[in-house]
Symmetry: C2
């Protein structure tokens, strides 16, 4: 039993260090660590193929710790193995036990939960908001499949955590896309934070659920090295067998394994200290002795030399006019109008043809978002991932794809993007690079009613735009094109931004305001009309409403400037210069709730102290269905007439 | 076969009207309606116990149409049955076919998706963002259980929709809480929007998943009236059998049933018109004739006389000091400090004792949010619903509880509240009345790191605060107490607001700033210090940071006013008056990303045009773990020293 005794000895070391780290930090989850120690030891010291000196290489096996609070046990292994760490990707150094002991300190790379942006490249994604890791693992595996890399992706999920519906979305997704490289490992240690887990999350029920979903569930004792090894080997064998079912491990474990005084209820997230710590370690030593733990076998990591996926140089993407012609859609040019959502589809297809790193995902609405222009192109179909009606999983899959070097474009109705806000935030925390395209945004959708309208979305995404990530770039760009040409150009521009962008596309066809000769940039805006009385700043559909209002305002003797604010953040100096040229009067127009674009203008104007006046017109009531966009615009006080009245009232003129 | 022939005839009528309604609207989903026609007919004409004249009564059986896009078939039944409609709850009138034909018009109560706030009280909740209905049904059943009402709650879920993880969260929740009154009905019509459903969502796989979760799955032909009737009866029988497993129906149906030309791919969400319509109706008639459809049996609704749950008059809630003493926690008073999250627990327990309508829900963090003070009180335990780690389900359950007259308080980490933003938005759209309490918000949490910190939350919730619901109240109140007394008082105050409130509570203990004699109101603020040079507007933890900064500013000769802005929306005139008394200088402080409270102040200040200057201090970088709150405050530029510098720089003084 020398393999077993060696694993026990190493697991014991990791548990001990986990207790010490969390005690030093004054917080953390040592008992969760103890439940995982054997699984992590067998994985990281024996089964996984990777190089500690090169922990982020996309061709190596990956470990996604979905139950992120158990991270000290992985840190302990990394400290022992000298896994490379450091904020400067070009200048990593081997982790030490001293590093481990800085857990959770402000100047440490060893964060409270897995966090790759803080200098821990072993992890692909920030975890800790539960239920997301299996989707990230699926994204990593999907990228490996596209790149034909022989890679295994292990994902450890807590039993309590498996109550999150997203886990089961991922289970279905992995089966649909035959991503057998992923091995879900359920860590069934019985105790969640505030109670024992539900009977719905026992190992037996979890195994039944997995079997119902088409998996072979291997129920094992998660503290028996041989059982762990056998299960991992069975997974490795199934990867090459096209007829084999996907495998999942359901591991029965003990929270606080090895130390009786740390077991049972009331020990979640509580570091031991003083006498309690001494007792825990004493019990642990006794347990290890009883098991004959002894490091008498050499464990050697299966070094996997990094191998790069085949790459193809990007070619220049065509202009929208060229793309339309190339796709047999030249009739659009003569019509003179196109929905921005359709322009997105055209751009996505052209971009996919130009760049091999581009992958597209959609949640069963590809014929509405027009992601289907990508999926229906035979040359691109293998890079399209249909995510079905499961948005949470889609965004976390995109984060996984990003970690493997892909540039993912995700799309669904903007309203349903909200289903994945927590996942998108975790991806931003991870430094992920993918694009979110929300269609049918705002009230211009009309007939379907408020359940399909996205209205607080600008506020949420722009909140990220107010912060800067460690790479010096904004947390997010929020884009809302008013014209198909702009949507096309911005779809292209997003690909060159290393981070998350949110682009809002609209349902209605809209007349062209620009041409293929115009350029648009993240952070840009367009001046559509130069006046001197009033600066109107409009977004998306409201640019067209404003354009119509200009004519009437002109009749009333008001000479307005019109800016199409298609990006947040934007050049606030330039906007305020325009405002200054208009007596400091700014009227903002947007077809969503407040705290959005108008509020971003108010932030800039009020910070300046230059005496600007900013009146915001936005949706101020709960919308409802209307058969036409104009009906709903009027219902929400955003008709052309409302805009004229708003402008007049702002300038204190009467409409009489 | 007279029952069958009668149901066929009625189902045919409903399908025909669904085609006509969607044709009149120019949009909608007639083929989905056709797949549900028999199920809806048997339910609404034969099995359900309710009064068409009183469609919202909480004691009647309920129908939650989770796949909201199929709503015309329910409208068709309501028009035929004269179910009462109208925006004025006190003045309803029977629905007519003419009403049905106004589907989706701006002045119609017949919205594109189920929408109770627009005058359709038959529905309990807005649906249409998929995957939420079963949780709403669970909330309705949980309320019925508390009230000992014999009620059945039918929930129709699409097969494609069942990919949403939330459905499976609800499946587990219903099992955990033995809510056998809920009957999930999966409408397996094979076609989702953009494709056939995944093999993971076939009737067979869905049935296996349900069985794994402990249900008895009845797989039936959803177009055979007898099979539907038998399955519904089996459900009714199990309700009174404590040993019976919960039942779910998996109905195999045909999208576009009755009309071959409307079947297969490409018919989702497309109304028929012209020749296509004529053909569809002709085929339908032929199908009905083949089946011998004939209204030869009288169907009569099982009228259920409304019965009110027993109620108990609310008693006056105690003050926080009284509550602490009553709960044996008087030691807190001498300590002089308490975390706002703990004050929430004290208030929730006191409120629960005072008001029988109060129900509490938490997602496995009740010992962190302190909802456990409610759950551990034996007199309240039956009104506590442990939702486990499944936030989406929790918020939709709360919406269901609200529809049944309960006032639900939901709690989890503020970060994880984001998991349910789409559900919360749908609840706001539904006119639901429940409270969301997010703990450990902002960066004061420190050690756990960004995966547990809520940072764009204020922006999102305050976006709803910029709009007004049909009842004339704001879409939401955003509350962030800086002191336990405030948290206690606001927990009480929220109970009297008919709508959704979001209260942010914090991890650290904070010194008392107020006493039990102070009153706090939704929309209020507190002036903590009156100065003349600078108005500092701070929220939550930052009020304490600002308090410390005041002293240093005073040394520097700056006499600042300090406002504790604990509510959004707020009295902006009062805030601007204070700013005017401080030379128009406003410095805002918040420990979250931008677009939040500071931006709300900027909105007010810039709208006024009075020449205010608003400098916002907020989190402008991605936070990380730190062992102390002060470490993370400094890392994010929000230390006391940073505030002093910010204030000095704003007033153009040097700190030298």
């Amino acid at each position: 039993m020398s393999y077993d005794s060696t694993i026990h000895a190493k697991a014991g070391e990791l548990i001990k260090l986990s207790y010490e780290m969390t005690a030093a930090a004054g917080s953390g989850h040592p008992t969760s660590c103890a439940s995982l120690a054997h699984l992590v030891t067998v994985l990281m010291y024996d089964h996984m193929r990777y190089e500690p000196a090169n922990p982020a290489h996309p061709s190596s096996d990956r470990l996604v710790l979905s139950e992120g609070h158990a991270v000290p046990v992985v840190y302990a292994a990394c400290a022992d193995l000298g896994v490379a760490i450091g904020k400067d990707k070009g200048n990593l150094r081997p982790m030490t036990v001293e590093d481990a002991m800085t857990l959770r300190a402000i100047d440490s790379v060893v964060d409270g939960h897995p966090n790759p942006v803080e200098g821990f490249p072993f992890f692909d994604a920030a975890t800790g908001s539960l239920g997301q890791g299996l989707s990230v693992a699926a994204g990593l595996a999907a990228a490996a499949k596209i790149d034909a890399l022989d890679k295994r992706v292990f994902c450890i999920i807590g039993d309590g955590e498996s109550r999150e519906g997203q886990i089961w979305e991922a289970v279905d997704f992995i089966k649909d896309h035959e991503l057998k490289a992923v091995l879900p490992i359920f860590n069934c240690n019985v105790y969640a934070q505030s109670d024992v887990v539900s009977p719905q999350q026992t190992p037996e029920t979890t195994a039944k659920k997995l079997e119902a979903a088409g998996y072979k569930a291997l129920v094992i004792d998660g503290h028996r090295p041989g059982e762990i090894q056998a299960a991992l080997n069975e997974h490795a064998e199934t990867m090459s067998n096209p007829n084999a079912q996907p495998i999942a491990i359901v591991a029965k474990t003990v929270k606080g394994w090895g130390s009786a005084s740390q077991q049972g209820d009331g020990h979640h997230g509580k570091p031991a200290s003083g006498d309690g710590m001494a007792q825990a370690l004493e019990e642990l030593t006794a347990t290890l002795n009883d098991l004959g733990a002894m490091a008498d076998t050499k464990l050697s990591i299966k070094l996997m030399s990094p191998r790069n996926a085949e790459t193809r140089d990007a070619i220049a993407a065509p202009s929208m006019d060229e793309a339309l012609k190339g796709f047999g859609m030249e009739d659009v040019l003569s019509k003179g109008k196109l929905a921005t959502r359709r322009a997105y589809g055209v751009a996505l297809r052209a971009l996919g043809q130009a760049r091999a790193d581009v992958v597209a995902l959609d949640a069963d609405v590809k014929n509405s978002t027009f992601a289907e222009m990508f999926s229906k192109d035979e040359s691109l179909a293998s890079r399209f991932l249909e995510c079905r009606i499961a948005e949470q999983n889609m965004f976390s899959v995109a984060a996984g794809l990003s970690a493997a070097g892909k540039t993912a474009y995700t799309s669904t109705f903007a309203k349903f993007v909200a289903r994945g806000y927590d996942q998108i935030e975790m991806a931003i925390n991870s430094g992920a690079n993918f694009k979110v395209v929300g269609s049918h945004a705002g009230i211009s959708l009309a007939a379907d009613g408020p359940s399909q309208m996205s209205l607080p979305d600008i506020a949420w995404f722009r909140s990220f735009a107010t912060m800067t990530r460690p790479n010096g770039l904004p947390g997010c760009y929020v884009l809302q094109p008013s014209c198909a040409y702009q949507a096309y150009a911005l779809t292209m521009a997003m690909a060159d931004f290393d981070g998350v962008c949110y682009m809002r596309t609209l349902r209605p066809d809209m007349e062209f305001l620009y041409s293929a000769n115009d350029t648009f940039t993240l952070g840009g805006h367009e001046v559509l009309s130069q006046g001197r009385d009033l600066l109107i700043v409009a977004t998306g559909y409201m640019v067209h409403q404003a354009n119509k209002a200009l004519e009437e305002l002109d009749k009333q003797g008001i000479d307005a400037t019109l800016v199409d604010l298609y990006s947040i953040p934007f050049d606030s100096d330039a906007i305020l210069d325009l405002a200054n040229a208009n007596n400091g009067n700014i009227l903002t127009l947007e077809d969503n709730y407040g705290a959005g674009a108008g509020s971003a203008i108010a932030d800039a104007a009020s910070a300046d102290g230059g005496g600007f006046t900013v009146q915001q017109m936005h949706v101020r009531n709960l919308p409802k269905s209307g058969r036409t966009t104009e009906d709903v615009m009027a219902y929400c006080g955003l008709s052309v007439n409302d805009i004229v009245k708003g402008a007049m009232s702002m300038l204190e003129l009467s409409t009489a």
